[in-house]
């Protein structure tokens, strides 16, 4: 599944953007070095192909529901890892822009989850290990199915970790994992079987297409050390974010109330320090760390219920007024535009 902007904190989104941008830069360089100019139109139309293929449905055997091709693994098998990563990334960019699948902040996550795993784990470490020597149909089916399943499992795990690291959902890690992994096992199996079916079809019709682009590339495999390093870096960063996050809210109740009634902190004129602290608090991208004054939080926790209620009532009232104003502006502008258009 796609990550959505709304589930992400800017830090996690930014980290994953950086990871995916690095991947794109690295793969662009590799593609330029190792593939001939034949690859340019082929990559372009295969990206469009994935789109077209995703629009065609099939009936999932035994369930009656319909599914479609994801395409990541198929691209890796046809194009090799580097070109495939670029193509998957480009498909995701278009999906984010035109179909609001995911969103732009989440694009980094999605490129990583749906591009990195099939191209640099599933393909080189599973598919290529199984499909060796004399190619047989059994090997192709086995290789593409297993690789697709593994890639989707990793991708789903990526979604779980990124969402939790962002701290927007209340879902506990174990519940989320138990929810996501089995669903994606099913999705992965379907994807794997479809990929295998298409790959065997292509193999019979035109065997040159499988890996045909990689003639000039040296194995087309990212050095294992580089993969490990990349995974390690992501793990450290996300792990760090999670623990940092967890340690700053030891108590969910205290934290949540402090959040809603955060406004009182600003109003309490406790001198320059509290002003600075609250400013810091307001502009911090990751909410609420280091500078938070615990005494203040405790104080606001004990603040009487009526003032809390007052805050929320004024919030609701003011909110509706502001919202109405915004729509009024829109309405007037629309009238205006119609008159002049």
């Amino acid at each position: 599944m796609h990550m959505a902007d709304a589930l992400l904190s800017p830090t996690v989104g930014g980290v994953m953007w950086a990871a995916s941008a690095t991947g794109i830069a690295y793969c662009s360089k590799k593609v330029k070095e190792h593939l001939d100019e034949r690859a340019v139109p082929l990559m372009g139309v295969l990206g469009a192909f994935v789109f077209a293929a995703q629009m065609i449905n099939f009936t999932i055997p035994g369930t009656g529901s319909s599914g479609h091709l994801g395409g990541g693994m198929l691209l890796a098998i046809l194009l090799g890892p580097h070109a495939a990563f670029l193509v998957i990334a480009s498909v995701l960019v278009v999906q984010a822009l035109f179909f609001a699948d995911g969103g732009l902040l989440a694009l980094g996550c999605n490129i990583f989850n749906l591009g990195f795993f099939p191209a640099f784990i599933g393909y080189p470490l599973i598919y290529r290990k199984i499909v060796t020597g004399d190619v047989t149909r059994a090997k192709l089916v086995m290789g593409s199915t297993l690789a697709a399943v593994a890639s989707l499992q990793l991708g789903a795990l990526g979604v779980v970790i990124e969402t939790l690291a962002s701290g927007i959902t209340e879902l506990p890690f174990s519940t989320f994992v138990m929810f996501m992994q089995p669903i994606h096992l099913a999705i992965g199996l379907v994807e794997g079987i479809v990929t295998a079916a298409v790959v065997s079809f292509v193999w019979e019709a035109n065997p040159d297409m499988l890996g045909g682009l990689q003639g000039k590339a040296p194995a087309g495999v990212m050095p294992r050390k580089a993969i490990l390093a990349a995974l390690l870096a992501v793990a450290v960063i996300t792990g760090g974010v999670i623990s940092w996050y967890a340690s700053s809210h030891p108590d969910g109740l205290e934290w949540s109330i402090a959040k809603v009634s955060g406004k009182e902190e600003l109003e309490s004129p406790d001198g320059i320090h509290s002003q600075l602290a609250s400013l810091q608090d307001k502009i911090a991208f990751l909410p609420d760390y280091s500078f938070r004054n615990t005494a203040e939080a405790a104080e606001s926790l004990q603040g009487d219920a009526s003032s809390r209620l007052g805050t929320s009532v004024s919030g609701i009232l003011g909110g509706s007024v502001v919202l109405c104003l915004a729509f009024l502006v829109g309405f007037i502008l629309k009238k205006f535009a119609v008159k002049n258009g």
Partner: protein, 270 residues
Amino acid sequence: MSEIARSLHELNAMDTLAGKDSPVHRIDPRAKVITFVVFAGCVVSFRKYEVSALLPYFLFPAVILPLGRIPMGFLARKVLLVLPIAVLIGIFNPIFDRTVLFSVAGLGVSGGMVSFTSILLRFVLTVVAALMLVAVTGFNGICATLERFGVPRAFSVQLMMLYRYLFVLTAEGVRMSRARELRSVGRAGTGLRDFSALIGHLLLRTWHRAQRIHMAMLSRCFRGEFFLRRPMRLGSADIVFTLAWSSAFIVMRLVNMPQAVGRFLLEVFP
């Protein structure tokens, strides 16, 4: 209309919107992309229990949509289409976080309900803004901006080619899928075997098309290097647009306006 034909239609509709002319369309793509990034950054940087402070951000779509001549219904439909994802994730918050934060008219409002509302608001805001960006900038404008900001040539060419053939291949997909529908009764022919043959054929055709395009490139002396040239001019209007909106977003991020307005109203009309 079949599902695939509808997707194609939607894609076309977005592209048509991007091809319109309006004051917003005329703004430099870079200015619009930067403004959008500031917008999205501010919206997602709020804490998870923030609701009221998110509302002023609706001013942005409220101004840009009519000026850019983007029909609201069209956008609303697209948002509704993807909303289930946010609901799916957010729906757990009210279940796991039942701490009552305050009560309105005797009904307790839990932290989970507040954060769920917040997720939905963020979702709508970011999705609307992203769709809006495409509708007033166009895919090529965004690609050109990405290239100016240092995206590798191989990737920007990939984006360009993908978009160019998106319409050609989806139309081909529509034709093939329609032919399948015409010959299949009910569910027949939508099984895995027929599906993979259909996709396989589409893939073969795509492959041959790539070879023909390659020939067309070679016959015009292509040597592997793309020369793209997209003149862009950043005028004072573009700079004003970016600065004004960005600072408005940052002010909205720092000052909770609805809260202030509400408190003011409560004081005036107690």
